[in-house]
């Protein structure tokens, strides 16, 4: 049986895989160690791994259960992916209230990590749109959880990293759209001050995110492209066009990504846009999911995999902290092309362990070059800590237990809601 990898393909290990096809397949029989539900394996580090124990694969729970065409409330099983929801909902005039940078995640995974997206500054996290869900516990109990019913279980399970029990289904509030297309604007910037000025000037726009060059130094330091989008507001055809997917066919050798190749790529990307600013109408797919067009793009990093770093630092003094982090990254020469910067809003996250909070968030990938990458990540983690920020468990493979407990002081309360049979590689790591 093929083993289950997280998206970063690190850490590696073996675990027993048990596929769930029906909610009634749970609880599973005893004797296979601790359990952890896992969906598409798109979290980067080890929150979706349970090495030496068992994973409950939830993709078999992929049924829609109810849809109200007037209110946009969709009930579906937790193994349904956001891609499947979009395929269903967009032609009917509805869209995800919040979406991360890939649509290849399950509803259960989106809840368990309380994911956020380009509209965080106005919409908050995915969990805010989860009206209710069911929670099955390994001891056999079933609970309906919502902001008003079993509210503490609701708060523990959203961003609960799959540790509070199995979510068989959930109800999601979708939002109405009139077009598949996005009114898109992109503006080049040089330096973080320009980035912040653009962010503040565009607070009223629905989606904002920036690509930032983490390799360039000196006069090109912190150059990037600030991207803005709103749903096009004209009623038009929303049927799904034929998709053309490319599969990244092989693992690149470790040497393929280095300062020279990534630097050249970044320069090309930056200069591809000739003017300071462009605006156009584009389909939502390339706007939200540019990388989803290439399946298995993580193979670009080779067999040794990648580490992702994502921090959020408080808005006050945030610029200084991000500046320091970016300099450390640029000096290391380890950064990849894929780096994003965004201002998060102050909409409250519903989960006890939700990651986003008001501030500036930076996310980027690093190819794993053994100790060199680990040392850099540890340094960035310490800088985040000093700045009063925190790291995102869904992206993490390196934060220490001490850091986790400081970043998420509600961990102690959270742990009282954990299912006694559930655990994960991540949880064991940060409880050490």
């Amino acid at each position: 049986m093929p083993n289950f990898e997280s998206w970063g393909r690190y850490p590696r290990g073996e675990q027993k895989l048990k596929t769930l096809f029906w909610a009634s397949d749970f609880p599973v029989e005893n004797g296979i160690g601790s359990l952890l539900p896992a969906g598409m394996g798109r979290s980067y580090g080890d929150v979706c791994l349970n090495h030496g124990n068992s994973l409950l694969l939830t993709r078999g729970l992929d049924r829609m259960l109810a849809f109200d065409e007037t209110t946009g409330v969709l009930a579906c099983e937790a193994g349904v992916t956001l891609a499947e929801i979009l395929e269903f909902a967009v032609p009917r005039g509805w869209f995800l209230p919040v979406t991360p940078g890939t649509k290849f995640v399950t509803v259960g995974g989106a809840i368990a990590n309380d994911v956020h997206g380009k509209n965080h500054h106005v919409a908050g996290t995915f969990g805010r749109y989860v009206k209710r869900f069911e929670l099955l516990r390994s001891a056999g109990s079933r609970k309906i959880c919502s902001p008003s019913e079993n509210a503490e279980w609701y708060r523990a399970t959203i961003a609960g990293l799959g540790l509070t029990g199995l979510i068989p289904w959930a109800e999601i509030q979708l939002k109405p759209i009139r077009s598949r297309r996005i009114r898109y604007e992109a503006t080049k910037f040089h330096g973080l001050e320009e980035f912040v000025a653009l962010s503040e000037a565009n607070l009223h726009r629905e989606y904002t995110v920036s690509w930032i060059d983490c390799v360039a130094r000196e006069k090109n330091f912190a150059r990037g492209i600030f991207m803005v989008g709103d749903h096009h507001d004209v009623e038009e055809e929303r049927a799904t066009p034929k998709e053309k997917k490319i599969n990244f066919p092989l693992n690149l050798p470790a040497i393929a990504l280095n300062r020279a190749t990534v630097g050249a790529f970044n320069a090309l990307y930056f200069h591809k846009q000739i003017g300071k600013k462009v605006s156009k109408l584009i389909d939502y797919e390339p706007f939200f999911y540019p990388l989803d067009a290439v399946l298995h793009w993580n193979r670009m990093y080779g067999k040794q995999g990648l580490l992702q770093f994502q921090c959020v630092v408080p808005y006050e003094n945030g610029l200084e902290a991000i500046d320091g982090i970016l300099k450390a990254i640029a000096d290391s020469g380890l950064a990849s092309f894929l780096a994003v910067l965004k201002v998060c809003g102050d909409v409250e996250s519903p989960g006890m362990l939700s990651f986003p909070k008001k501030g500036i968030t930076l996310a980027l990938d690093f190819p794993i070059r053994e100790e060199k990458t680990f040392a850099l990540l540890d340094r960035l983690g310490a800088m985040t800590d000093e700045a009063g920020g925190r790291l995102y468990p869904a992206k993490d493979a390196r934060m220490t237990g001490e850091q986790f407990r400081k970043f998420y002081p509600e961990w102690r309360e959270f742990s009282t809601y954990m299912d006694e049979r559930f655990s994960s590689s991540f949880w064991r790591r940060v409880m050490e």
């Binding site: 093929p2 596929t19 009634s24 049924r63 829609m64 109810a66």
Partner: protein
């Protein structure tokens, strides 16, 4: 019935992964469905899914299809509820425990009852019904395992070989009357039935197989292998002389 028009479809064994994947395609076309399965809870979930995805009507019937004495009443009700059946998909079946069946005839008999006798009862009624209404498509899930007996699954293979042969005969009888009989031979499919075997590159998803079945129905084919490369694989396997084959571990 060609193309993407809504149809009236009967699905027997509606909670099987292949049946679900196929039924979704017809639900999305706005078809009316009559679903039959043994487990009430699972059937309700599948019915909800198909309704949400666009089926114009979803009727359900909980029954064990091994009970052939109840087939006629159930099928008559399906025809009445749907006001005529355009397509019937016979999709229920079990893999069975080969080792247990080798040790005990009763186990083998049960596999044959579920995979062969039950379907023969259903197909007999449906073929006659279709002849009477002068139209109809009968799509039946057999298996590549019926193409050649192997030590790993010959009881299952026997049931499917019998089913394929039965369908050949029915086709030979009713095709000239405008009734379509389609034998579907999936290869390895990643489903709950095969969860203990999975892993090879030859495993297809139920979605792939569902699309293959819908295509076979839309294009009015006789015998289809899904995915199509299984026609080649089984063609080669059938060519191996028995004197050699009997020594192989395949």
């Amino acid at each position: 019935m060609k193309g993407r028009k809504p149809v009236k479809m009967l699905v027997l064994g509606a909670t099987s992964a292949i049946a679900m994947a196929t039924a979704r395609i017809y639900a999305q076309r706005g078809s009316a469905l009559y679903l039959v399965a043994r487990n009430e809870e699972k059937l309700a979930v599948v019915a909800a899914d198909l309704q949400v995805r666009g089926a114009s009507a979803v009727h359900t019937c909980v029954m064990d299809l091994d009970e052939t004495e109840h087939h006629a009443a159930m099928l008559a009700e399906a025809a009445e509820k749907l006001q005529g059946i355009d397509i019937a998909l016979v999709a229920h079946g079990v893999l069975g425990d080969q080792a247990a069946a080798e040790a005990e005839y009763g186990v083998a008999e049960k596999v044959l009852r579920t995979n062969l006798l039950g379907p023969i009862s259903l197909i007999t009624w449906l073929a006659n019904h279709f002849v009477e209404q002068k139209r109809g498509t009968l799509a039946v899930i057999s298996s590549v395992a019926g193409d050649r007996g192997r030590k790993l699954n010959y009881v299952y293979g026997t049931s499917k070989a019998g089913l394929s042969t039965f369908l050949q005969g029915v086709r030979n009888r009713v095709d000239r009357l405008g009734i379509k009989v389609i034998t579907i031979k999936p290869g390895f499919v990643a489903t709950p039935m095969t969860v203990h075997l999975q892993g090879g590159i030859l495993f297809a998803t139920p979605e792939t197989v569902g699309r293959g079945i819908a295509k076979a129905i839309d294009h009015r084919r006789d015998v289809v292998y899904v995915p199509g490369y299984w026609r080649l694989i089984m063609g080669l396997i059938k060519l191996v002389p028995e004197t050699v084959f009997k020594r192989l571990n395949v």
